[in-house]
Amino acid sequence: MKRPAGLAWLRGRSAVIGVPYAWLLVFFLLPFLVVAKISVSEMETTTISDIVTWKDGAIAFNVKFGNYLLLLSDDLYFKTYVSSLKYAAVTTLLCLVIGYPFAYFMARTRRTVQPALLMLVMLPFWTSFLLRVYAWKALLTEHGLIADAIEAVGFDRLLAAAGLIPGPGQLMNTPFSLVLGMTYTYLPFMILPLYSNLAKMDLRLLEAASDLGATAWTAFWTVTVPLSRAGIIAGTMLVFIPCVGEYVIPELLGGPQTQMIGRTLWDEFFSNNDWPMACSVAVAMILLVIVPIAVFSRYQAEATERAT
């Protein structure tokens, strides 16, 4: 791009980069440092102790790792972390199993109907997420529409046998209702990146594969799936990472046996008023999701590079 001479350009450039950059540093990055600081502080009745104090002409450090030790030693916290990861992983897998064929078939329908199909996937996005989760509550409680359907075909006995619900007919506030709600909510996040990836695929590659003697099935696994890797990664991250820390769905559809870490953080903060503990839980959660987020950010950057 051509650069007009003079300082005006420089001013424009530094403003365009500087304003959003500074904003993100102050309101996104700085808060994490505050959280990290508070997580090693102590609660002093209503205020939080300073970790660095000036006492008798010397700097005194007052760093407490007690919260982290509690996180590691207390079985309850550890179990909550593991079960959050488990529910997020199961949800991601279900979204992929339902969403991949869905996106694939969408991308292979006639070009003229594809915009309408895409719009139908995006439309639920625009209606409140909270209300759609709430809707499942009515569908799954006793005599709800879906609950009756599930009981009519005897699927609830299967779920009870698998240990996902405590007994036939008890569908709400169970691991089943939680995973169902999360799969439902996050399914479009899986479908959209997969669709945009599969719709762009060069179909001549599949023709080449079949010319070389591959069956449709082989061609799918050796050509289509590897080529859609970027879409799979994006979709998986978009589902998995928010699911780990999900709060609203476990609160509305989960039960006593489905503790998730987002709820623990919420309770530490709002019910127990233990800010340092809530911060430690948050830091531990950040450590869990930082690697997936880095992968996601890398992928996004790569997608940008390719498109330009």
Binding site: P4, W126, S128, A135, L145, W266, P292, I293, T304
Partner: protein, 291 residues
Amino acid sequence: MNAAAWNRAFARAWLVLGYAFLYVPIVALVVYSFNDSPVANLWRGFTLKWYVALASDQELLAGLALSLQVALSTACAAIVLGTLAAFAMTRYRRFFGSTLFAGMIAAPLVMPEVIIGLSLLLMLVSLQRATEAAFGFGFPERGMLTIWLGHLLLGMAYATVVVRARLQTLNPQLEEAAMDLGARPWQVFWLVTLPMIGQALLSAFLLTFTLSLDDVVLSAFLSGPGATTMPLVIFSRARLGLNPSVNAVATIIIAIVAVGVVVASFIMARGERRRAEDIAAANRALTESTP
């Protein structure tokens, strides 16, 4: 039936079932809003009484007013910051700390909201305490301003993604041509770039508006006494159990969204066609004039 027909039937069935999964809860919400029974899942005849009750539901109406204000100001600020960020990422690409910048844009899209809400709140509380100690009054108070800051953080990330996707498809030569013809950088932006990304700005505006209108977790952390947004009211009722007033609100929202999305996509499709023709014409003119 032969194999190809089987495949087609399977594909169609999968799509139909998938859409049913996505839409059954929404349809159920709407149907039960007309149910004449306080027990939301037993059908007992048609009624409009829940809608009538909404008109005098002060808690919900106050929440709605606050939510709309927050959503409008979030959307306006988010498209400004998002456009700047998208420009920085597509036009300058490599600059000092650009990896961190890209990370900070991508992270809010996936970061669990409880983390964002908690950390932003604690930062703002620290700020408030510091200003109280220094000047005698605490700033910012928890309320509309702090909710707005939280929503803006999320909205900006989404707006950046939408605007960036659009900027990437633009031909940079059009802007260069305008500069060669003597336009100042701000003139290039207002007269050439902005009309070309107008559609993306509109989608970003609508997206951030709905995100803000829908948010529960950030609002719960950042709201103060007397600042309860509509989703917070709905959430506290939904937590206690089924409540027909929630269904009535849901139906109204769904109706507005359905009409809005259809109208917006119609207008956008028309505008997009015209814009595409203009851009194509400009590109043709460019290639013809270059020897």
